[in-house]
Amino acid sequence: MENWKVLLVDDEEDFVTTLAERLKLRGISAIIATTGDEALELIETDLPQIVVLDLIMPGLSGLETLKQIKSIRPAVQVILLTGRGSTKEGIDGMRLGAYDYLMKPIQIEELIEKINEAANAEASEGEGEQK
């Protein structure tokens, strides 16, 4: 688990920094981005295995960012955060390759559970890729 690096993407900086700190307290290393573009850069430079991505952001939207992440590094697992409570958005995201989605406001336990699930999925997918 210590090897996992999680990228948190949300335009609310206060939210991502606090979340990152809490994840670190639980032994998960997290980096943060506040825009889609920034997130795409970090995907290539810092190589996180898991991305927690807010769907609604100014500039590059969540779904667009998701598409590009998946085109750059298809093995990255993306967990979406949605504030609108619309399952449709979540489902759309999953169709584009997202692992799952969570409704805001999230609880840390819920998120960690999803991260673990996604990490396991990433691992098996990664193995698949190697073969």
Binding site: E12, D14, F15, T18, L19, E21, R22, L25, I56, G83, R84, G85, S86, T87, K88, M103, K104, P105, I106, Q107, I108
Partner: protein
């Protein structure tokens, strides 16, 4: 003035044809019906009645002409024969006066011979006499002994002083029976003026007038200008009596007038004046008798008219009743649909607003949540933190409050969420059991008795499982909140009719007031002070509608509430279940 009147009429007309507004609804339909009845009766009964009246008069005129014309012909005939009768006798006497000399006529034998010839040839002569210019009758033949009689003071004699011929009125005279006199003055060179006079029996006269085959109700007679009857009348007096009626205006042509006789009887009077003597011939027929046929027809017409009007009225009354009732029903339906639409729109717009607010609130709420979470993490990590025992409950309270907000915003979002209905084959009884399993813990904990009355042969229906679960859960939640610990909740399902199945959820809880009941499906209406969103039943209502069903609620304060949901056996898009498989007839 005319303009003002016209304006008044126009406003009456407008008031009449205007369909009263919705606000006046109690009066509206009564008024509409009244107006329809009046208008329909006007356009049907009025022409009918006018036609009846016109027919009445036209027919009356024709009939009168048919009656009047024969009466005129009758009077003309009688007049002619009467005049002929007089003219014949006058010329007979005149001929004798010219053909014979005074000497011949003084001889009573000669006079007697002439008299006999006249009697046989003409008839009606009673006697014949010769008078001197002084009025002394010098020669006489007849049934009485009148030779030597002085006539100088008689009216007819005096008139002969200025005229050559005279026909007298009927009078009694010496003979004590009605008769009249024809007298001719002759002037000879040898004897100067002398007078030949003849008396004529009125019986002949009467026969002539009366013998013309009149029916029992009719009368005919002659009067002089003073109104004295010259012949006996059947109904208005004997000869020489005064006719109890005024003399009609002079007309030598046969004329018919309507009048009433002294007894008040309506009569038709046909008459004509004679030129000489100045008598008037009258024929009288009772009007009722004459118009008997007409009266019979009139009563038939009247009966027909009344019958027609009655039938029209009944038909109009019934028809307008049915029409207005239908209008009223369709109005009510329209109003109901309108209300429902309004309600659905209200739900939709409130939903959008709620979603916007919820979303905006979610972000700061997320930050609060994470910050509080971090604080808790830090407190947990450092057991030696000063006042740790005080901070921990505060942070926990913040986290719990955020959690409560989360529930609320999620519900708001759920309310607004466009429901993507996913139609599958559904066994309602299964869903009921699943939802109950979900609530089992609470039921056991609060000792709530659950009663299931599920129909065993309930057909599967095409519907959305998740949405139905939500519906049942919402209603059951309400029921659980309404009952006290140890209360009872029962759920039934049944095959309602050909098109629907029914589910009811009944509790014996606190029940609701009528006021609450009226608002129960409205969004944000809640009786749970402080912590209800007022959206649960509103969402429920929306889902049931979306699934093509309907929901009803009955409640009585203190004795419990029953929710009844009806769901269609056909899906909202026409899906049907055949042999246990879903078949879509849509698209």
């Amino acid at each position: 003035m005319f303009k003002i009147k016209l304006k008044g009429l126009r406003s009456i007309y407008r008031d009449f044809v205007r369909f009263p507004d919705y606000e006046e609804s109690p009066l509206r339909y009564r008024r509409l019906r009244r107006n329809m009845i009046i208008l329909m009766l006007l356009v049907t009964v009025l022409p009918l009645i006018s036609m009846g009246i016109i027919n009445h008069y036209q027919y009356l005129n024709t009939l009168k002409k048919e009656i009047i014309h024969p009466m005129q012909v009758l009077v003309a005939d009688k007049k002619r024969s009467f005049e002929l009768f007089l003219a014949e006798r006058l010329s007979a006497v005149s001929f004798v006066a010219s053909a014979y000399s005074f000497e011949d006529l003084v001889d009573e034998n000669t006079l007697n011979r002439i008299f006999r010839v006249m009697k046989t040839e003409f008839g009606g002569f009673v006697d014949l006499g010769l008078c001197t210019n002084e009025g002394l009758q010098v020669s006489y033949v007849g049934p009485y002994d009148l030779k030597g009689k002085q006539y100088a003071d008689q009216e007819w004699f005096q008139e002969l002083q200025v005229r050559d011929a005279h026909i007298s009125d009927v009078f009694m005279g010496y003979r004590k029976f009605p008769h009249f006199v024809i007298a001719i003055k002759h002037i000879s060179e040898t004897h100067g003026a002398w007078i030949l006079r003849a008396t004529i029996d009125t019986e002949k006269f009467n026969n002539l007038v009366i013998s013309s085959g009149l029916d029992a109700e009719s009368d005919a007679f002659v009067v002089n200008q003073e109104g004295v009857l010259q012949t006996p009348s059947k109904f208005y007096g004997d000869v020489l009596e005064k006719l109890p009626m005024s003399i009609p205006p002079i007309s030598f042509e046969p004329t018919v007038i309507e009048r009433s006789d002294p007894k008040g009887k309506e009569i038709l009077l046909a008459y004509a004046h004679f030129t000489s003597p100045h008598h008037i011939l009258m024929v009288i027929k009772p009007r009722t008798d004459v118009l008997k046929a007409w009266y019979a027809l009139k009563s038939e017409l009247l009966l027909l008219l009344l019958g027609g009007v009655l039938v029209i009225f009944l038909v109009v009354y019934r028809l307008t009743g049915v029409l207005v009732k239908q209008i009223e029903a369709s109005d009510q339906k329209r109003t109901q649909v309108f209300h429902e639409m309004e309600y659905t729109n209200k739900l939709a717009s409130i939903g959008r607003l709620a979603a916007g607010v919820a979303h905006e609130v979610n972000n700061p709420m997320s930050i609060i949540g994470q910050k509080a979470g971090l604080m808790k993490d830090l407190i947990d990590l450092d057991p030696s933190l000063p006042q740790r025992e005080k901070f921990l409950p505060i942070v926990n309270s913040i986290i719990q409050s955020v959690e409560r907000c989360r529930v609320i915003t999620h519900r708001l979002l759920g309310f607004a969420r466009r429901m993507d209905v996913q139609i599958l084959v559904i066994d309602i009884n299964e869903i009921i059991k699943e939802v109950i399993a979900f609530l089992e813990k609470e039921a056991i904990h609060r000792n709530i008795k659950m009663e299931l009355k599920l129909s065993e042969n309930l057909p599967p229906i095409p519907s959305d499982q998740g949405q139905l679960q939500q519906v049942l859960l919402n209603i059951l939640n309400n029921a659980y909140e309404a009952v006290d610990d140890g209360g009872q909740v029962s759920i039934s399902s049944w095959d309602h009719d050909q098109d629907t199945i029914g589910i009811s959820i009944q509790d014996n809880g606190s029940g609701m007031s009528q006021e609450t009941l009226a608002h129960i499906f409205e969004p944000f209406y809640t009786t749970k002070k402080g912590w209800g969103t007022g959206l649960g039943l509103s969402i429920t209502y929306g889902i049931v509608k979306k699934l093509g069903g309907s929901i009803e609620v009955q409640s009585q304060k203190g004795s419990g509430t029953t929710f009844t949901v009806y769901l269609p056996k056909k899906g909202v898009h026409g899906e049907e279940i055949k042999n246990g498989k879903l078949e879509s007839t849509f698209g």
